[in-house]
Amino acid sequence: MYYFGDPTIWLPFVFAGLMGVSILIYVVLDGFDLGVGVLFPFANDDEKDRMIASIGPFWDANETWLVLAVGLLLVAFPSAHGAILTALYLPVAIMLIGLILRGVAFEFRAKAPAPHKHLWNNAFFIGSLMTSLSQGFMLGMYVMGLEWTWINFGFALLTAVFLTVGYSFIGATWVIHKTSDALQIKAVDWAKGGIWGLILGIGAISLATPFVSTRIFDKWFSFPEALYLSPLPILSGLLVYWLWSMLQKMPFAGDRRSWQPFAAATALWVMAFGGMAYSFYPYVVPEQITIYEAASAPESLFIILIGTCVVLPTIMGYTVLSYFIFRGKATELRYD
């Protein structure tokens, strides 16, 4: 426990890192399958089936990253878990009902009688929409410091819309990668139509964050700290430009580069998240509780860490394996 100095310092830091990684993996992975759900009304029945097939083998595992992220918050930073979730009581409830709806709709739409199928398609869309909107809303409230004022509420509504459109964008890039022909062309259009959500979302949060606290403002705009942060907006800008010009020309002959929009979207996600994490550190509840104050006892964290060191690489390994086994274009999803 004392390998890296004081365990009350390095253990909370490690767990904050693990939690951050889980949240990041979650918003990328479940981001694309939520996005596919949000795009459902724009697809015809045949395309819906193929879109479902493109996320079929993955969504269960994708959603468990949320359980891991919230689980880590719960076990490593119990008081922060309580403070954040009681403040976000209503959006959490809406998100949970949304997650339930879309999760079960996924199974039911394949098994229920044909006349009921459109009902479950709608449930899948509504569930995905509820989940995306409430996650965006929670993101906005979190950035603004979890205070229920009208301004914060309005800002959170904006981020709710932006994140939902952002999810639909990353969902569209996933569909570009996993499908072909007419649906792929349609997905390119969806991606072109959705990229603004991502840009505005990142923009709004970047604008708001430094003005919520002078501490973050100093971190951003004082010299030399400003230098550390400057690669993020520059790189993001270049990526957006590259994405935009690539989407104008897609799809390429022979399906070349079909994976690149998704990869670029992921890179944007990572940078936006990195910027946020850098700004809010060391606070887990913005400007109220630091990770060091909220952390569980070092003995307990250490026990969890041992398990994590064994389990996390394994999980990552077989996540990659599962994506490898189901690589390529989404084919008919058969239970055999």
Binding site: A61, G71, P78, H81, G82, D255, G328, T331, D336
Partner: protein
């Protein structure tokens, strides 16, 4: 106001966890049953085992999805409604929950994709291995969560520093006194639930004309498994009860409806417990039997509920009627399961007639018993969980200390929304199971197709 929030939060948590437990109860055992079908197929090469596998793997997928989504709800509810719990005992509950999530949840979720959709994409042994890992993962998931739950009933291996629990001995925490009993009891409950579900749905398919070999082997295996397991379960339940008497005597007193400590206490079959007067109305009992069951001595002393009221008048035992009644529902449905499974087994084995030996009333009876395992399991959990009240962690913290100060109308509003969603989903779940059964009975292929084959493209998978 505060009391309303407490009561509503309790009802909300109870609703969520009751809905959730229905599905793990099915998947814990069904995973192993699927592995059994798969191994039989690997061994014999007989198509009927694969037919059974293909039908029940769909029910597994459906139950699994219901379990995952309702499980996510639980991990949030600790924070939204019960922040005090983790603040006080988070150092112990945290690692146990973490292990549950890490070792189990992922093992299930990742290999589930291969188990469900990978049969033609991976070698047969990988598919069998995936089936095993899913079954094993589900079981480990149950293990860790039962460890935590048991610790809340019989806490040990910790010390309190400044009002916060700190772990001192992890093996004492994991192997706490009630864990082995509770875990065995729950796993057996799961196997019985699945046995009756398979027997019931197979009987339904048989009745409407789906008399395939796959239905035959599934029904026969299920009935015989139920007949073998139910006496074991009754025995384990008895041991569990004795363990509870040692560590949580107030719960046993409530289960028995026994107000006064005494010797030669009767076993009460029926009564209406009156919480105000602290006595039973309309009591019907068998003399001295409770003493005999609990102490194995006709004149043994059994503690009564009145011992758990402090001099200040604080009541440190649960409300009696819910515990008293749910215990009777559990025992009653257990005895009914014993009766039905033994009679059915006798009919099957008599002159080796097999499934043909089951008369129509028995088949209808089995259909009616399809969800009897759910009833017994829920009743059992109500007995043990309500029986722990007013404690959240026995002797360490009360439920009231843990509740969040959320406005009651907000809790009520979300509770109504949850209940509406759960009711609709439960109806849809049961409907779809019987719909799939009807569809297969008509000889149609079910649910193998989720999406049509797309036009060939340069990147298409070479497999298949």
């Amino acid at each position: 106001m505060e009391l309303e929030t407490l009561l509503l939060s309790r009802i909300q948590f109870a609703a969520n966890i009751s809905f959730h437990i229905l599905f793990p109860t099915i998947t814990i055992a069904l995973g192993w049953v699927l592995l059994f079908f798969k191994l039989r197929y690997n061994r014999t090469g007989e198509e009927r085992w694969m037919e059974a596998y293909r039908f029940w793997v769909k029910i597994f997928a459906l139950s699994f999805a219901m379990g995952v989504v309702s499980g996510i709800t639980m991990s949030f509810q600790f924070g939204t409604n019960w922040p005090g719990f983790m603040e006080k005992v988070g150092n112990i509950a945290g690692p146990l929950l973490a292990y549950e999530i890490m070792t189990a949840f992922f093992l299930e979720a990742v290999f589930l994709g291969i188990m469900l959709f990978g049969f033609s994409r991976v070698p047969n042994w990988v598919h069998t291995l995936a089936t095993f890992l899913v079954a094993f993962g589900t079981m480990m998931s149950a293990f860790w969560i039962i460890v935590l739950n048991s610790w809340m009933h019989t806490p040990q291996g910790f010390e309190m520093i400044d009002g916060v629990a700190h772990a001192t001995d992890w093996s004492a925490i994991i192997f706490n006194p009630s864990m082995p009993y509770r875990f065995t009891h729950m796993v057996l409950a799961s196997f019985l639930t699945v046995s009756f579900l398979i027997a019931g749905v197979s009987a339904f398919r048989w009745l409407i004309g789906g008399r395939t070999e796959g239905v035959r082997v599934a029904m026969k295996s299920a009935i015989i498994a139920a007949a073998l397991l139910i006496p074991v379960q009754i025995l384990v339940g008895d041991f569990h009860g004795l363990n509870t008497k040692e560590y949580q005597p107030a719960k046993v007193a409530a289960m028995e409806g026994n107000w006064e400590t005494g010797t030669g206490v009767p076993l009460i079959l029926f009564a209406i417990p009156d919480e105000e007067a602290r006595e039973n109305k309309f009591e019907i009992g068998i003399p001295k039997l409770a003493s005999f069951i609990l102490t194995h001595d006709w004149n043994g002393e059994v503690q009564g509920l009145n011992d758990f009221v402090t001099e200040d008048g604080d009541v440190l035992h649960p409300r009696v009627s819910p515990v008293f009644w749910s215990f009777r529902v559990m025992v009653g449905s257990g005895l009914l399961m014993l009766l039905v499974s033994w009679t059915a087994t006798y009919m099957i084995l008599r002159r080796k007639r097999g499934i043909e030996g089951l008369p129509k009333p028995m088949l209808y009876g089995l259909v009616g018993m399809s969800f009897s395992g759910w009833l017994a399991t829920l009743a059992g959990w109500y007995t043990t969980e309500i029986g722990r009240q007013p404690w959240l962690v026995q002797g360490v913290m009360t439920t009231k200390e843990a509740v969040a100060d959320v406005p009651a109308p907000l809790v009520l509003g979300t509770l109504i929304a949850y209940l509406a969603v759960y009711a609709a989903l439960l109806a849809a779940y049961i409907f779809v199971i019987f719909y799939l059964a009807r569809k297969t009975a008509r000889g149609e292929e079910i649910g193998t197709r989720i999406a049509p084959t797309p036009a060939p493209s340069p990147n298409a998978m070479p497999a298949e």
